[in-house]
């Protein structure tokens, strides 16, 4: 298929989106990530039944943490897509990258660079 998506997206593989942890998400921001998104399977299609629902709840938790820290909650998002949807994966990567570019660099990184 050889679909193009922005090179700024770093993919970290997990056995299931349910494996993602609040700490993983926060650590990425601590290390200066401008944005983080979790790509899970379609709702109702989880091989482990509820992994993607759990991932969404953790993403929502981190949104609240970011808000409390004075950062935009839009810097983290949960997307659902099937593993057979290559074009959608690339489209989401482009969409999210566009969103983060509009938000600008993470204030964590900006403060460190100053």
């Amino acid at each position: 298929m050889r679909l193009q998506y922005p090179a700024s997206v770093r993919v970290i593989q997990l056995p299931c989106s349910g494996r993602v942890d609040i700490l993983h998400l926060l650590k990425a921001f601590e290390e200066g990530a401008d944005g983080v998104y979790v790509a899970g399977c379609m709702e109702g299609d989880c091989h482990f039944l509820t992994g993607n629902f759990k991932a969404r709840r953790k993403v929502n938790y981190v949104k609240k943490v970011l808000e409390q820290l004075g950062m935009e909650p839009e810097r983290i998002e949960m997307y659902n897509m099937s593993s057979a949807e290559g074009p959608r994966f690339a489209q989401v990567a482009r969409e999210f990258t566009q969103r983060i570019q509009e938000l600008g660099p993470s204030p964590v990184k900006a403060a460190q660079a100053a």
Binding site: I22, L23, L26, K27, F29, E30, V65, Q68, L69, G70, M71, P107, V108, A111, Q112, A114
Partner: protein
């Protein structure tokens, strides 16, 4: 277990303002079980505080440590070598933790990172409910195993009151009337007549009304 809630990050950040080196101190007791003050939560809070510090261009020294318990002096002792290294220690144990740490290390600035809310149990994963008010004189066996002190909004010993409607308390339709439950349970058990007993005023001296409580067990004391 003792159940607690995390304090808002804004409140914690305000507490530690101007304090460079911070230690987040967890407890492997009750607060680990109710997912508010264990090793995992130490990691989350410490990371969030480091993000806040980095964002503000401040020194990000926020370390984490989790003690077996914060309500026993021998575990508090484990802090002896490091307590002096920090400008702030945030205890995310129940209210006992920050007090025990502050008593043992009088020079340390200790802050509570959670609000201790009640003694209760888990109804399901992520849902806890109050079950005990530590009144110091347990009587639940008289009420079908349901505590009217902790679970009735008015702690009535002779209920239900006129505020009980459709099985719920007048304070909120979300709060079940424990007296409604007591009557139903006792009826089911064939013990309804036991509720005819009129309870005299409860002696609250065993509760907080008798002042701060202390227990001395001569058989255990060394």
């Amino acid at each position: 277990m003792i159940v607690g809630d995390s304090k808002p990050l804004e409140e914690i950040l305000e507490m530690i303002k101007g304090r460079d080196k911070v230690l987040v101190l967890g407890c492997r007791g009750c607060v680990t079980v109710c997912n508010v003050g264990g090793e995992k939560e130490v990691g989350i809070l410490a990371t969030a505080l480091r993000i806040a510090r980095k964002k503000a261009g401040q020194p990000p020294t926020v370390d984490g440590m989790t003690l077996e318990r914060q309500c026993d002096p021998e575990y508090i002792e484990e802090l002896a070598e490091v307590a002096g290294d920090y400008d702030a220690i945030i205890s995310i144990a129940c209210g006992v933790g920050p007090q025990f740490v502050a008593e043992r290390y009088p020079e340390a600035a200790v802050f509570p990172g959670i609000n201790t809310t009640f003694i209760g149990g888990a109804l399901e994963h992520g849902v806890w409910a109050e079950r005990c008010q530590s009144c110091g004189n347990c009587l639940v066996h008289n009420f079908g195993g349901l505590c009217p002190i902790a679970r009735c909004s008015k702690s009535l010993m002779n209920g239900p009151c006129g505020g009980s409607a459709k099985g719920n308390c007048e304070i909120s339709p979300e709060v079940p009337c424990v007296w409604h439950q007591i009557v139903e349970k006792m009826e089911k058990m064939g013990r309804l007549q036991e509720l005819e007993k009129v309870w005299p005023n409860k002696n609250w001296l065993t509760s907080r009304d008798g002042g701060p409580r202390k227990r001395v067990r001569e058989d255990l004391k060394q």
